[in-house]
Subunit: 241 residues, 2 copies
Amino acid sequence: MASKLEAFTRLSADDREALALAAKNFRFVEARRDVVSEGDKPRFVHLVLDGWACRYKQLPDGKRQIVALFVPGDFCDVNVFILKAMDHSIGAITRLKVAMISPEDMNALTWERPRITQALWWHELVTAAVQREWTLNLGQRSAYERLAHLLIELYMRLETVGRARNGHCDFPLTQGDLADATGLTSVHVNRTLQELRRDGLIELERKQLHILDMSRMNDVAMFNPNYLHLDHEGRHLDANA
Amino acid sequence: MASKLEAFTRLSADDREALALAAKNFRFVEARRDVVSEGDKPRFVHLVLDGWACRYKQLPDGKRQIVALFVPGDFCDVNVFILKAMDHSIGAITRLKVAMISPEDMNALTWERPRITQALWWHELVTAAVQREWTLNLGQRSAYERLAHLLIELYMRLETVGRARNGHCDFPLTQGDLADATGLTSVHVNRTLQELRRDGLIELERKQLHILDMSRMNDVAMFNPNYLHLDHEGRHLDANA
DNA sequence: CGTCTGGTTGATACGACTCAAATTTGGTGG
DNA sequence: CCACCAAATTTGAGTCGTATCAACCAGACG
């Protein structure tokens, strides 16, 4: 698999082999099922091999917030073993192929592999940066800007792992998912998507997203890609290499 | 100083000494000045020794979101050296005493000090968990709930570093700061704080916060402390020890 | 074919924003 | 110690973005 880590640095054949070895244990999770649930003791680091997943939190009054989305190549919780219990759940959006890496495998992966260790650190820092951008998104952008921003972010992240090109990508989120991720209602998401369509910015149907005018989308969303920290050597490699 | 790290694990005298040594270089920053600005190359890890600071992001249209708050004992960006440029700014809320730890000092601090390394990892994981909770806060809670939640979180974090007790703590944020942190306008923050006062939940004046009824506040805010991950051995030590 | 999930539409309500002004507080210098 | 100024808080009136509630529709699936 084309790991997201290669967006940070070129890995050696050795490194890649070690990564593949660590990811040898995987399982499939059906769409809309939990991979991990809040309260669980952390037992594995998860690496999404195929499909989409999300991190979400739920409130006693039933409200649900998706706080992060995972696409292929994303690690879920590097180093999470330090914590006693998960403070959130991880759920499959689509049917999901996910590697389960034990603490021992994680140690084996990083031990004597400084490039991987560094790349994992980079991954964690980017994940944190994305979380901050979401905070900004929810706090300061209107519904229209907010959705545009989320769509661009996901498109760009997919592009870095070779799953998007020419403005086009798979997009399995329902309008309900988008609502939970943006803090809007699904009704309002529906109307806002229609606006984006009407304005000639996107096409979105049958789980396929097409961003028609990336430059106008960037303006609308006030999208600044700096938080994805893609300005590294790996950026210049063919993502499918 | 009573480091936040001790909330995670008891440190040895040696560890504490190493920590003090790493934090020997400090400076003062005037209130409302930047400690680090977006775009800067990361040069130091910062550790707040005294005063409050915030992490914020700004949009081209001038809107500003505070995405995190730092109180004494908080580290700002462990391991940030990996990134080429800051994607956000760090600003002083009050006059600030802040330690500046170089990459070399950071290495010296963690090298051969597994407890500190682990404690720093814990710190990073908690920081990320707080960021997720803020995402939830902005996405799903009403203004009233949201402010209540923020007040409780800050109170609890201050308590763990020995700077709050009996429901009382310093609280230097202006209503404008609260607005930027909660994604509300300062006018609405003002009215919502009045509601919280009228309902007998808090007193807040002259930069002093008093939470009058913690249990009702917890209910109102739907506050679940699990995300602060305080259930570790360090939790049982006197924070002033 | 009936059922279900996801998407769409319409009517109405309300929480939070905007703009503008008044008041209070805290700091500073005379 | 008081006068002054800027910053922060408070109040009021009016508006708007988004939520709510309730149908209805289309395609997927068994």
